[in-house]
Amino acid sequence: MEALRERLIGRALLVVACSVILALAIITYFIFQAGLPIIVRLGLDDFLFNTRWQPAEEGGSFGIGAMVLGSLWVTLGALVVGVPLGLAVAVFSAELAPEWLSTLIRPAIQLLAGIPSVIYGFVGLMVLVPWVRTHLGGPGLSVLTAAIVLGIMILPNIISISEDSLRAVPAAYREGALALGATRWQTIWGVLIPAARSGIGASVILGMGRALGETMAVIMMIGNSLQVPRSLLDPATTVTSNIGLEMAYASGEHREALFATGVVLFAFIMVLNLAANAFSRRRLQA
């Protein structure tokens, strides 16, 4: 009797645990089912690279080229801001900071991660947009503004994983380098960072996924213009912000096209996840 009960509990827990896989499968199925038909109809080439997006319920023109470019620019910009800054903070916290400061930084980074994205977007809109407008020109609502704020938003991802992998480098590496007469900086730059590179790589990829997927903050700062941006100071739109803005009222073919945009985003994020996974697996093996 007891043994049977135990076995049932084990089975039930297996089913519960598989809910994660089930959820992922249902999400994938429904997003693709809603978005794939229009991609097939238009052809992936035309959908991805055509920059004319003129939605109508029937017979509109649906090309997400401009949004894809906008997303790429904003994501790259976020990495340019976030990766050096995040890596510096990770090095600081793992190697340079006195104990008390290092125990202060970890919770602070967690708080940074806990701030809702609408707050980031709002502060960007109220503070950074006017600043860019008066000091650098253009409308202020721009690729640059969104990229800077996104760069800050991805800091927690980059810092926490990079710091963990820096701390995981065996002490012998550090001692060896120092014993050979290297300065502390030479040790960090020449030994520790290369030794931690798979973890750092994984953190960059995860940060990239976060920047690419962010929606609300970007909507508030990028200006949502369907033009292809010609400079960093131009307004633009991204794959995510276009979904976020137009889903509220889209119907018919237009809604289908938005789901198709979701398919592209989803596929891209999954590839990034797999890449991050491969990176961290290499770290475990090393």
Binding site: L14, P107, G114, T183, L212
Partner: protein
């Protein structure tokens, strides 16, 4: 001066410059955090009053308070946690106590990791097409909670799994030695000892739900009425804040709502942090 000495001096200059940059980066990051929080509080708190918290909005939020959005946030978050916590803790117990590394556990872990990387706008699209449209739940508490539950599931699984793994093995051995079944061991020894860590995960998940916008706006809707049943649509604080700001309804009210939003998420995160620190200390004392 020999060549070696010059190189040594150069290395020291390089080190000084690099360290200065690193210190600046760290301080700048802390400054950005402080700036965001203080900026919102400074401009928002003067407009927060007891009446603001306890009255309904008027004229789309131009006047009045935010009570229905506070209730909406609480209801939606509680719903999400009520669904995700049992599933997440169950999955964590399965992964740690009921199985060994196998293709099945690898698939489950991969699923959780992949789910954690899915952007919230995708959850919004999915919740809309699946819960709102396909299952005909409409924009409702139910649709919103279910969508949020899936979104926070990976966080709960990961933190619960970590917490369970820190329970020392001798505890399990003693429990088995006394004749307990595996399930008795889990409920009377493992879960109570892992509780602080599990609660930390749940609190982090609450923080994520409270601040979420993209996944909520397309599943729970934007209705400003007080929700009356599980199928009523509602508007959370984060969604209200977003709408106030982007539609330029009222900057004053936007700042005030933002202040409440940031106080809530900060409190939640500080609480989670405090629990982690306490749990780590307790763990150190034991081992």
């Amino acid at each position: 001066m020999t060549a070696g000495k010059t190189r040594r001096a150069g290395a020291q200059v390089a080190e000084r410059i690099a360290f200065a940059l690193i210190w600046t980066s760290a301080l700048a990051t802390l400054a950005v955090l402080a700036f965001i929080v203080l900026y919102i509080l400074d401009l928002g708190l003067p407009h927060v009053s007891w009446r603001f918290l306890t009255s309904a909005p008027e004229e789309m939020g131009r006047e009045g308070g935010i009570l229905p959005t506070i209730i909406g946030t609480i209801v939606l978050t509680l719903g999400a946690v009520a669904i995700a916590a049992p599933l997440g803790i169950g999955a964590a117990v399965f992964l740690t106590e009921y199985t060994w590394e196998s293709p099945v556990t690898r698939a489950i872990r991969f699923g959780a990791e992949a789910l954690a990387g899915v952007p919230s706008i995708i959850f919004g699209l999915f919740g809309f097409i699946f819960f709102v449209t396909y299952l005909k739940m409409g924009w409702s508490i139910l649709s919103g909670s279910l969508t949020l539950a899936i979104m926070i599931l990976p966080t709960i699984i990961r933190t619960a799994e970590e917490a369970i793994r820190t329970v020392p093995n001798p505890y399990r051995d003693v429990s088995f030695g006394l004749g307990a079944t595996r399930w008795q061991m889990v409920t009377s020894v493992v879960l109570p000892n892992a509780l602080p860590g599990i609660i930390t995960g749940i609190i982090l998940a609450i923080g994520r739900s409270v601040g979420e916008t993209a996944a909520v706006i397309f599943t729970a809707g934007t209705a400003l009425n007080m929700p009356t049943s599980l199928v009523s649509p509602l508007r959370t604080m984060a969604v209200h804040f977003y709408i106030l700001a982007i539609e330029g309804i009222s900057l004053e009210k936007a700042y005030a709502t933002g202040a409440i939003l940031i106080i809530t998420t900060l409190t939640v995160n500080v609480l989670a942090n405090w629990l982690i620190v306490r749990a780590v200390r307790r763990h150190r004392r034991k081992s």
